[in-house]
């Protein structure tokens, strides 16, 4: 019996082999048949795509508030009824959505989260002609009523209602045109551009000349600094409507002339333009420093390679690659060493002030999960803004606080420890200049104009990420009066997938912010970028990007990959984001919003800067990507550096403080044009500053100042 079974098995196996062989032969034959066509491709020199095809919804570790299930059900119902051309029921479903005043978002399907109103408009625009006619039959009367009453105080509200809910009605285009004018007059160029764009998108049958809408849109884009999108409009107008007359501000001009005039203003100030970057400087020739302050003692009692003796979750000495937050101005260098802040005189290196006793560091350093990356140090004018834990508190879950000090004396001006004790600060503060000066800002009067780079004025506001104590998953933005630290507003952004207080073996995701024209962009560094209206704190939209959640299961041999937060960066009208743990470089156009870049880069890469031609990334290697083609132009691997060793960007150079000194790299080709060894070769590098003809390097071993033989031009000039 057994023999029979074995014989059967052998036969089956033989058949299987024959079948596999047959399949193999067929496949091989196919290969041979199709090989000539494949062989027609060039064997070498094949161009690789810079960006792979999108793979749908990204794997994000951040959640924004989403719409209730009822809204999603109503959307499904709408789409089903449209298929069956049951217009009345379809529009009933839409009405149900419009009536709900929820603040959640709906995933558009490509990782972009938009308000439900925006999605509804898109769905209506995609209706077939019969559907649009039916819609007008149902809703034209309502839209006409709103249009007729759109005067005085009700004008903005009524027009917004028409554009939001009845964009495809017979008055939808006119309402959008007028609403765009209103936004433009108010200086809200983002909204103006979006509203005029809606005429092109949702009202293809509009009687408003397309050239006029395009020129208006170009105006809003130009004033909003969105030059990449402006160039597209410029090209379109130049090709099709250059000679057409349009009415702008009550005067008749040709579309081509108006666009040319707008294009000439493109040479205005742009943070990413080379002219805005500091001048190059020659590296020092003498390794001998002007002064040096060592964090570690010189008696040999402390391990030179690990001066702070941090412990990991298993109690083992932790690799000494943590951040020493530092800042510098024209007089002093400031550091925040685990909550003990210190200021050093730039000329002499003498300790000017300190906020605590250095021996208290032992308490902080011995803690498991000390999260050194959560400490920050910034200086704005005559004040230092630092984030840290009280060095004397012993709780492993102790809150991080924002402390503002007088830069000269170290005297505390205000601290969130007192006024916002229920919040734990997450990330560095971001100060925004507000043009309305001499008046204290209130919750309803925040009208930012530019990021604050110098001393804050009355009326400036500070945005900083925060979590409620013991609510380590949530992320909010606190809007503070920069003068006294009073809370003006709280903006809820969303939730992290992992409690940020429970990350012991990796880096905590801290939000980073950037202001572009009248909108604030927040990168959560866990898989989402959100655009926020800083005036009312509303999130206009959010884009999810690939960012896996940090591992929550720990094991003894785990070595966390290097990573750090950076950006967002505004370049040519695009918002560039590189999430801390993400392997994607994201470029988002505000219009839509549209994902213009979704490019694989190294997970450890950080945004460094940009110019007219390239965007530069740091990390384990320096890389430059073409802004036009998205291709990798060059890559330069420098000697090993600390994770937080972010290069300085000047007009033609990138400078990075590495374990083998400060390297100067040519931005055009990536060649290393010089290395300055310096006096701090025991460290892995770190941050660096150039101020008053001095090069200051800050590593986790100490602070070192060198004299620049050839200071930058701006520093040399009187």
């Amino acid at each position: 019996m057994l023999a029979v079974a074995q014989s059967r098995n052998r036969r089956l196996a033989l058949r299987g082999r024959i079948r596999r062989l047959s399949i193999g032969l067929v496949a091989w034959s196919c290969l041979l048949i199709f090989a000539p066509s494949a062989g027609a491709q060039p064997a070498v020199g094949i161009q690789f795509p810079a960006t792979p095809a999108s793979s749908g919804k990204p794997n994000s570790a951040f959640t924004l508030p989403t719409q209730s299930a009822n809204v999603k059900d109503a959307l499904d119902e709408f789409q089903r009824m449209v298929k069956h051309e049951q217009w009345d029921k379809a529009f009933e479903a839409l009405a149900a959505i419009s009536e709900k005043k929820t603040e959640g978002f709906i995933d558009r399907g490509d990782g972009v989260l938009v308000p439900s109103g925006l999605l509804v408009r898109g769905l209506l625009a995609e209706l077939p002609s019969a559907g649009k006619s039916a819609y007008r039959l149902f809703y034209d009367a309502e839209a006409a009523r709103l249009w007729a009453n759109a005067v005085g105080k009700a004008e903005l509200e009524n027009l917004s209602a028409i554009v939001a809910n009845h964009a495809i009605s017979s008055v939808g285009d006119r309402a959008a045109d007028r609403l765009g004018d209103l936004y433009f007059e108010r200086g809200d160029f983002e909204q103006a551009a979006g509203t005029w764009q809606s005429i092109l998108t949702y009202c293809p049958d509009s009687k408003i000349p397309k050239s006029q809408t395009l020129v208006k849109l170009a105006m809003a884009l130009a004033r909003g600094g969105r030059w990449t999108e402006f160039r597209e409009i410029e090209q379109m107008v130049g090709e099709r409507y250059a000679g057409e007359e349009v009415e702008i501000g009550g005067r008749r001009v040709t579309a081509g002339e108006q666009i040319t005039e707008l294009a000439s203003s493109a040479a205005g100030p742009d943070a990413s333009a080379p002219s805005a970057l500091p001048d190059d400087f020659d590296l020092p020739k003498q390794n001998e420093p002007l002064w040096r302050f060592r964090f570690t003692g010189t008696d040999g009692a402390t391990d030179q390679g690990n001066p702070f003796q941090l412990a990991d979750i298993y109690g083992r000495p932790r690799p000494n690659d943590f951040v020493i937050p530092a800042a510098a101005d024209e007089r002093r260098v400031y550091v925040n060493v685990f909550g003990v802040e210190m200021a050093f005189d730039l000329e002499t290196g003498k300790l000017v002030w300190r906020s605590g006793k250095l021996h208290l560091l032992n308490l902080q350093q011995a803690r498991q999960g000390a999260a050194p990356e959560r400490y920050t140090m910034n200086v704005y004018g005559d004040r230092t803004w630092s984030v840290g834990r009280d060095p004397q508190q012993a709780s492993q879950q102790g809150p991080f606080t924002l402390t503002v000090r007088d830069a000269a004396s170290g005297k505390e001006i205000f601290s969130s420890r007192r006024s916002l004790s229920s919040w734990s600060i997450l990330g560095a503060p971001y100060l925004i200049e507000v043009p309305v000066t001499r008046e204290a800002p209130s919750a309803g009067s925040i009208s930012p104009s530019a990021p604050r780079k110098n001393a804050p004025q009355v009326g400036d506001v500070a945005y900083v990420g925060a979590q409620r104590n013991r609510q380590g998953r949530e992320l909010s933005l606190l809007v503070l009066n920069a003068a006294d630290g009073k809370l003006l507003k709280t903006v809820n952004i969303g939730s992290y997938a992992v409690d940020q207080n429970q990350i012991y073996n990796g880096r905590v995701a801290r939000p980073t912010l950037v202001l572009n024209q009248d909108r604030l962009y927040v990168d959560t560094h866990a898989g989402a970028v959100a655009m926020i209206d800083p005036q009312d704190g509303n999130i206009d939209w959010a884009v999810l990007y690939e960012s896996p959640a940090p591992p929550t299961g720990y094991y003894y041999e785990y070595v966390p990959p290097p990573c750090d937060v950076s950006g967002p960066l505004v370049v040519g009208g695009l918002i560039f984001s590189k999430g801390m743990s993400s392997s994607r470089l994201f470029g988002i156009a505000g219009d839509g919003p549209k994902v213009a870049w979704n490019r694989p880069v190294a997970e450890s890469a950080v945004l460094v800067g940009a110019d007219d031609e390239r965007i530069y990334l740091g990390g384990e290697e320096l890389t430059a990507y073409s802004l036009k083609t998205q291709e990798l132009v060059w890559a330069t691997r420098l000697p090993r550096s600390a994770d937080w060793s972010v290069p300085l960007v000047t007009k033609n150079r990138l400078y990075q403080f590495t374990s083998r000194g400060v390297c100067a790299v040519d931005k055009a080709r990536g060649d290393i044009v010089g290395i300055f060894r310096g006096d701090d070769l025991d460290s892995l590098g770190g941050s660096m500053f150039v101020a008053r003809g001095k090069l200051v390097t800050v590593s986790n071993m100490g602070i070192t100042a060198y004299s620049l033989d050839e200071p930058p031009r701006e520093a040399r000039s009187p």
Partner: protein, 293 residues
């Protein structure tokens, strides 16, 4: 009882047969049983290395193959350009083949090994090659100068971004496979002009063999005849087996591009060029006249 007797007989026969068989196998590899006197002859000539070779690994790793190629291209270019700037006449570089591999990141591999659940990661493409940096004509140079120059070359390689030390993840990964080395650079001191040296060693080996055989003949009161067979047992430079390395876990030697015999060592010292031969001499029959006497 009969069966027991039969088994014992078989066993005895087997032992006898196996004993005969083992007698056929020469105890010394290469030795062929036969008449005459078989001896080893060894010749050794010490030589100071005349080249230094440093094998440096340049690579580019990225999710997109195009990016990996650009990174690799630039890494190699920066290394070669930096070395060329030195302007050393005796310095040359040679690329020893390019390899392309695909796999997980080190961090991901660690998680897999430790059984940590995870989502599938992005495959990384790595393009890598070994660039052999060769410094010639170092035989006459003082040792200090040679070592200093080698150090300078390694410094330049590091400044050009070539990774000399391993990352913590790489060290852990090596340790998992029993490799506790933390070195990533292979420096070899090479004797490349081996032909003449080997001739001398051969001559010495032949002379040594004849001397040994003569001694045996004399002791056995026979007359040594002509050599009837010669076999090379070991010849320096025929294989890297002669290379001496202090680091058993050093990266595998790169592919040899030269067909010329060479010998190398990990240390800057005189390297023995050794030749070992197995020679069988005939025993001349005794002179009948002498025998009668």
């Amino acid at each position: 009882m009969k069966l027991h007797f039969g088994c014992t007989a078989l066993l005895v026969w087997g032992l006898l047969v196996s004993g005969n068989a083992s007698a056929q196998v020469p105890l010394i590899p290469g030795m062929v049983a036969g008449e005459g006197i078989s001896v080893y002859g060894t010749g050794e000539v010490a030589a100071r290395p005349n080249w230094v070779e440093i094998d440096l690994v340049v690579s580019g790793k990225a999710e997109l193959t195009g990016d990996a190629l650009v990174k690799y291209r630039d890494a190699r270019k920066r290394l070669v350009d930096s070395l060329a700037k030195l302007g050393l006449a005796d310095l040359s570089t040679e690329e020893l083949g390019v390899g392309i591999s695909a796999g997980n990141s080190l961090a991901q591999q660690q998680r897999i090994i430790n059984g940590v659940p995870q989502a599938p990661g992005k495959t990384q493409i790595e393009v890598a090659s070994t660039v052999r940096v060769r410094l010639k004509n170092v035989r006459e140079a003082p040792s200090d100068d040679v070592v200093k120059t080698v150090g300078r070359l390694i410094d330049i390689a590091q400044d050009a971004g070539v990774s000399i030390e391993l990352s913590q993840a790489e060290i852990q990964m090596r340790q998992r496979y029993g490799n506790y080395s933390n070195q990533n650079v292979n420096v070899q001191f090479v004797v490349s002009d081996l032909a003449e040296l080997r001739e001398k060693a051969y001559e010495q080996a032949v002379a040594d063999a004849r001397e040994r055989a003569s001694r045996l003949a004399k002791l056995n009161r026979v007359k040594l005849g002509a050599a009837v067979s010669v076999q090379e047992i070991q010849v320096a430079g025929d294989s890297q087996a002669m290379a001496r390395s202090n680091n058993p876990y050093a990266p595998s030697p790169a592919l040899e591009t030269s067909k010329e015999p060479r010998i190398s060592s990990a240390t800057l010292a005189d390297i023995p060029v050794q030749v070992k031969l197995l020679v069988r001499f005939a025993i001349e029959p005794a002179d009948p006249a002498t025998a009668q006497k």
